[in-house]
C-alpha cells in the first residue's frame, strides 16, 4: 500500500510541481500570481488531444506541436493582456484579477471549441501497465513523472547555465540594473510567461491519457499549483517543486490512511498550519516582498 501511495504522490506531485514552477517563474518576472496557470494546463491537454486523438499525429510530434502552441499562447498572453495592464500601472491585486479573467476566457474557449464534456485521450504507449513488487502501475504515470523530472532539470540548467537563462534571472532580480546591462527585460519577461505556459501545457498533455481532459480541472489545479508554490516559499523554483511534493504527499497519504473523502480538506488544513508556522514558506525565499 505504501508504495502505491508513494507512486500516486509522485504522479500528482510532479504535476503540481510543474504548475507551481510556472507560478514561481512568473512571480519572479512580474511580481504577481497568474491564477490561470491551471487552465493553461487544461488548454495544453485539449490541444494535445486535437493533435494526437483527432488529427492522428504520432505521439512525439504531437507533444512537440503542443509545446510550440503553448509557448506561443504564453507569449501572446503576456504581450496582449499582461503587459498592457502593467503599462497602465495598475495595482498588483487588479492584475491578479486580470489573470482570473484570462482563466474565464480560456475555460470558455475550451467549451466553445471542444465542448463541455470530458474527453478521453488514447494511450501514448503500447505497454499500458507494468508490475513492480506485485503491484500494477500505469505506464503513462511513470512517463509523466519522467517528463516532469526532465522538465525541471531542463529549466534548472537553462536558468543556471545558458546566458539567456542568466539574463532572465538578472531581470527578475533587478529589472533596472538588468536593463542598464543591456538585457531586454521585456523579452525576458515574455519568455518567462511563455515557458510557464509551456510547462503547464506539457503537464496537461501528459496527464491526458491518465485523467482525460476537462475544463473543470483548471480551477482546482490553479489552486493546488498555487498552494504548492507558496508552501514551498513563493518565488523559489526548488521550493515550488518541494511544495508540489508536500501537497501531493499529504493528499495521497491522508487518502490512503485516513479517508479519501477527507484528503483535500486534510491537505488544505495542513497548508494552513504550514503557513502559520512558516509564514514565508518552507524554503525561505528572500525575494518575497513585504
Amino acid at each position: 500500500m505504501f508504495m502505491q501511495l508513494l507512486f500516486a504522490a509522485l504522479l500528482s506531485g510532479s504535476i503540481y510541481g510543474l504548475i507551481a514552477l510556472g507560478y514561481s517563474l512568473i512571480y519572479r518576472a512580474s511580481g504577481i500570481m497568474n491564477l490561470a496557470q491551471g487552465d493553461l494546463m487544461c488548454l495544453g491537454g485539449f490541444i494535445g488531444y486535437s493533435f494526437y486523438a483527432v488529427m492522428k499525429i504520432p505521439v512525439i510530434p504531437s507533444i512537440l506541436l503542443t509545446v510550440i502552441c503553448c509557448f506561443a499562447i504564453g507569449s501572446i498572453l503576456e504581450k496582449f493582456v499582461i503587459s498592457p495592464i502593467f503599462k497602465r500601472s495598475s495595482t498588483t491585486s487588479v492584475i491578479i484579477l486580470a489573470t482570473v479573467a484570462v482563466s474565464y476566457i480560456i475555460q470558455s474557449l475550451e467549451i466553445i471549441i471542444w465542448g463541455g464534456a470530458p474527453l478521453a485521450v488514447p494511450s501514448f504507449l503500447k505497454i499500458k501497465t507494468f508490475k513492480l513488487f506485485g503491484v500494477i502501475y500505469q505506464t503513462e504515470s511513470l512517463l509523466t513523472i519522467g517528463v516532469a523530472i526532465a522538465c525541471m532539470l531542463g529549466i534548472h540548467f537553462f536558468m543556471k547555465k545558458t546566458s539567456f537563462g542568466i539574463a532572465m534571472r538578472a531581470a527578475a532580480m533587478d529589472p533596472v540594473a538588468a536593463r542598464s546591462c543591456g538585457i531586454n527585460v521585456a523579452l525576458t519577461t515574455r519568455v518567462t510567461w511563455a515557458i510557464s505556459a509551456t510547462v503547464a501545457g506539457l503537464a496537461g498533455i501528459m496527464v491526458g491519457p491518465i485523467y482525460g481532459v476537462t475544463t473543470t480541472l483548471g480551477t482546482s489545479m490553479s489552486a493546488k499549483g498555487f498552494a504548492s508554490a507558496v508552501v514551498g516559499g513563493y518565488g523559489d523554483m526548488y521550493g515550488a517543486i518541494l511544495g508540489g511534493g508536500v501537497l501531493s504527499g499529504l493528499e495521497s497519504f491522508s487518502a490512503g490512511y485516513i479517508s479519501s473523502h477527507l484528503k483535500q480538506m486534510i491537505a488544505f488544513i495542513a497548508v494552513l498550519l504550514i503557513l502559520f508556522s512558516k509564514p514565508r514558506g518552507l524554503l525561505n525565499a528572500e525575494s518575497v516582498k513585504d
Binding site: 484579477l97 498555487f226 480538506m265 503557513l275
Partner: protein, 335 residues
C-alpha cells in the same frame, strides 16, 4: 479652517444624494417586471457583502479569497440553527452573523502576519476547507451536495418572501450597514485601517497595533458578509455548496474593484453593475464566460481604479483645468 468640510453649509454636502430618493420607488416603477425587482434584491445582498469586503480589502489592504466561505457561514449557520433548534429566525440571523465575525477574528489572528501570496493562499485554503466541510458534513446535516431547503424570510411576523417586500427590508439594511461603514472609516479606527494599508511598518511604528486592527477588520468583514449570507439563504429558500465555492469568492473581489476600492459608493456601484451585467451576459449563453472575461480585462485596462476611483481622477482633472483657465484669465486681466 475654511478647508474643513465640517464648516461647509450642510445642504451642499447632501445635495449629491438627491438622485437616491428615486430608489425607494423602484419597485413601483418596475411593477410589471418582478424579475427586475428580484435582481435588485440580489444586488442589495451583494452590496452588504461587498461593503464588508471593502473594509478588509479596500481600507486595510488585506486581500481575501474567502468571502464566499463567510457568506456560507452566515447562510448555513442561520439555516441549520433554524432547522435543528427552536430559536426564532431574528435570532438565528444574528447568531450566525456574530459566529462568523468570531470565526473571522480567530482566523485573522494567525493570518495577520502573512502577506501577499501567503495571505492569499491562507484565505483560499480557508474557503476550500469550508467547502469540503459543507459537502461532507458530519451526519450530512448540511445536505451535502444536494443542498438544503430553507424557510423564507419572516421577521417579527412580517413575511418578506416576495421580492417587492424583501426590497424594502434589504434597502433598510443597506442604508444602515453602508452608513455604519462610512462612519467607521471616518474615525480613529478607519485611519488605523488606512495606515496599515498604506504602510504597515509606519503604522506599527506610530503606535497602531497592526495585528489587533487586522483582527478587527476581519471581524467586520465576517459579520457583514455573513449577514448578507443569511439574507441570501432566507430570500432564495434553497442553498447548495456551489454558491459558497472558492471560485465564487472572486465575484466579490470583482464587484469591489469594479466599483472602486476604499470608497463609500464603490461597493454599491460595483454590486449593482455586476449583478446587472451578469444577467445581461446570460443571453450570450455559451459565450457568457468569454464575454465576461473580455469585459473584465477591458475594464482593468481602462478603469484600473474602478468607477469611483477613475471618477475622482476625472473630477480632479476637470478642476485643474478650470483652475488653470481661471489663473490664465487673471493673468490676462492683470496684463
Amino acid at each position: 479652517m475654511e478647508t474643513l468640510s465640517l464648516n461647509r453649509p450642510r445642504y451642499k454636502k447632501y445635495i449629491k444624494f438627491l438622485p437616491l430618493l428615486v430608489v425607494p420607488f423602484l419597485p413601483l416603477l418596475l411593477k410589471n417586471y418582478t424579475y427586475g425587482i428580484m435582481l435588485l434584491c440580489f444586488a442589495q445582498i451583494y452590496v452588504i457583502a461587498t461593503t464588508g469586503l471593502d473594509i478588509v480589502y479596500g481600507y486595510t489592504g488585506q486581500i481575501t479569497f474567502a468571502t464566499s466561505a463567510f457568506f456560507g457561514i452566515g447562510a448555513y449557520g442561520s439555516v441549520l440553527l433554524r432547522k435543528y433548534t427552536a430559536i426564532p429566525m431574528e435570532l438565528t440571523i444574528l447568531m450566525a452573523t456574530l459566529l462568523s465575525a468570531l470565526i473571522a477574528m480567530l482566523f485573522a489572528y494567525p493570518v495577520s502576519k502573512l502577506r501577499f501570496a501567503f495571505l492569499s493562499l491562507s484565505t483560499i485554503s480557508f474557503n476550500y476547507i469550508f467547502f469540503y466541510f459543507i459537502t461532507r458534513s458530519p451526519g450530512g446535516i448540511t445536505g451535502d451536495f444536494n443542498g438544503i431547503f430553507v424557510e423564507r424570510l419572516k421577521l417579527f411576523g412580517i413575511s418578506f418572501k416576495e421580492s417587492h417586500h424583501f426590497f424594502y427590508f434589504g434597502l433598510v439594511c443597506v442604508i444602515i450597514l453602508v452608513s455604519l461603514k462610512m462612519l467607521l472609516v471616518r474615525s480613529r479606527v478607519g485611519r488605523a485601517f488606512l495606515a496599515i494599508k498604506q504602510n504597515v511598518h509606519a503604522a506599527e511604528g506610530m503606535g497602531i497595533n497592526v495585528r489587533k486592527y487586522k483582527v478587527y477588520a476581519f471581524g467586520f468583514y465576517g459579520a457583514y458578509v455573513a449577514f448578507a449570507g443569511t439574507l441570501y439563504a432566507h430570500f432564495v429558500g434553497f442553498i447548495s455548496p456551489e454558491t459558497f465555492a472558492e471560485e465564487q469568492s472572486v465575484l466579490y473581489l470583482i464587484m469591489a474593484m469594479f466599483g472602486g476600492l476604499g470608497s463609500d459608493w464603490g461597493p454599491v456601484i460595483g454590486s449593482v453593475s455586476i449583478v446587472w451585467l451578469n444577467d445581461i451576459l446570460g443571453y450570450f449563453e455559451k459565450y457568457q464566460l468569454l464575454a465576461y472575461g473580455i469585459l473584465l480585462i477591458l475594464f482593468i485596462v481602462f478603469l484600473p481604479g474602478g468607477v469611483v476611483g477613475e471618477g475622482k481622477k476625472l473630477v480632479a482633472k476637470i478642476n485643474e483645468l478650470i483652475k488653470g483657465a481661471k489663473n490664465r484669465k487673471e493673468v490676462d486681466a492683470g496684463a
